[in-house]
Point group: C2
């Protein structure tokens, strides 16, 4: 989210909203690399010093905006069982994150983030989605022995982390089959 609590509805909130909007519009229009603080300020109808004072610099502003864009906007689809739920979610996660745009957002989020707040937020989004899927599986009852539903942390280690690691460090050769394989590996062997 944004770096500071803002009185909602006040002038601060309006400025923040218009700056975020300006970033998104300009990102689309002139490309990420051409963004500068003065440019964003002009589009947002704000003086540059306002941005510098509130966000510090461009990378922190981008980090802020990136985290917003990485927030999932829908609950994971329900396929009626744990395995397909997880597999589908993993595939979609990979799809969104591994695109050039997705990678750029992840990097932005990580970058302008000295204290790790924004990165933590991204991770929390994923964890929430996974948690929802697992809770659904548990709620179905009969589906699976309760003991075989993995922990959230385990899903993060076995599915989310490998996906993210490869997206960031080795973008080559990532595909849906790999994502499905991770899920299969996790569910296929009675590991927790």
């Amino acid at each position: 989210m944004s770096r500071q609590m803002v009185r909602p509805g006040g002038r601060s909130a309006r400025v923040q909203a218009s700056v975020h909007t300006a970033v998104r519009e300009l990102e689309a229009e002139v490309g990420r690399d051409a963004l500068t603080v003065p440019l964003v300020a002009q589009r947002a109808g704000v003086t540059p010093s306002t941005i510098y004072r509130r966000w510090g610099d461009l990378t922190e502003l981008l980090s802020d905006v990136a985290v917003e864009r990485l927030r999932p906007d829908t609950a994971p689809k329900d396929h009626g069982a744990l395995a397909p739920d997880l597999a589908a979610w993993a595939e979609q996660f990979l799809d969104e994150m591994a695109s050039p745009g997705g990678r750029a957002y992840i990097r932005d989020a990580l970058l302008g983030d000295p204290d790790g707040t924004n990165a933590g937020q991204c991770s929390a989004y994923a964890a929430d989605q996974v948690d929802l899927i697992l809770a659904r599986a548990a709620a179905r009852g009969g589906e699976i022995p309760e003991a075989e539903i993995p922990e959230v942390e385990t899903v993060i280690d076995r599915v989310v982390a490998p996906l993210m690691y490869r997206i960031l460090f080795r973008p080559a050769g990532l595909d849906a089959a790999y994502a499905r394989g991770l899920v299969a590996g996790l569910l296929g062997q009675g590991d927790r």
Copy 2:
């Protein structure tokens, strides 16, 4: 390594070396945040435009230097068996990478790296170290059924990726026990 092939021994090579050295010295002396291109240039005895032309901007230069610092300087220690070898390596990896300095280098490496070359290099370093450990295990022969020695890719997914993911996205609560647990989870269950 560095962004372009340089005729070794030529003037380019000298400039590159002195710039890299200047970055490392100044990082230690004035702190990472106080680094600027002109400052580095002055220390390196070079004009700023040289740096701008060769590296583009400060983040790309830092990325370059960071990758060099992330290169392991020693082979993993030999403890006589696969499990302790991997566990010790994972612990050391975590130690180095999770330190404030280590995290900063990882982030620098990821940041100024539009095409992923530098990030790929980091990943390759880790893969090489793991590969060495696995090759050693295979060479020992009797130790373990050949079939139970995991693939490099599997070790990356199960050990390296979770460590890196948590270092980047959730630095809290990381410790040697967690690293050991990852290795134990991998080796403990006949997964590949």
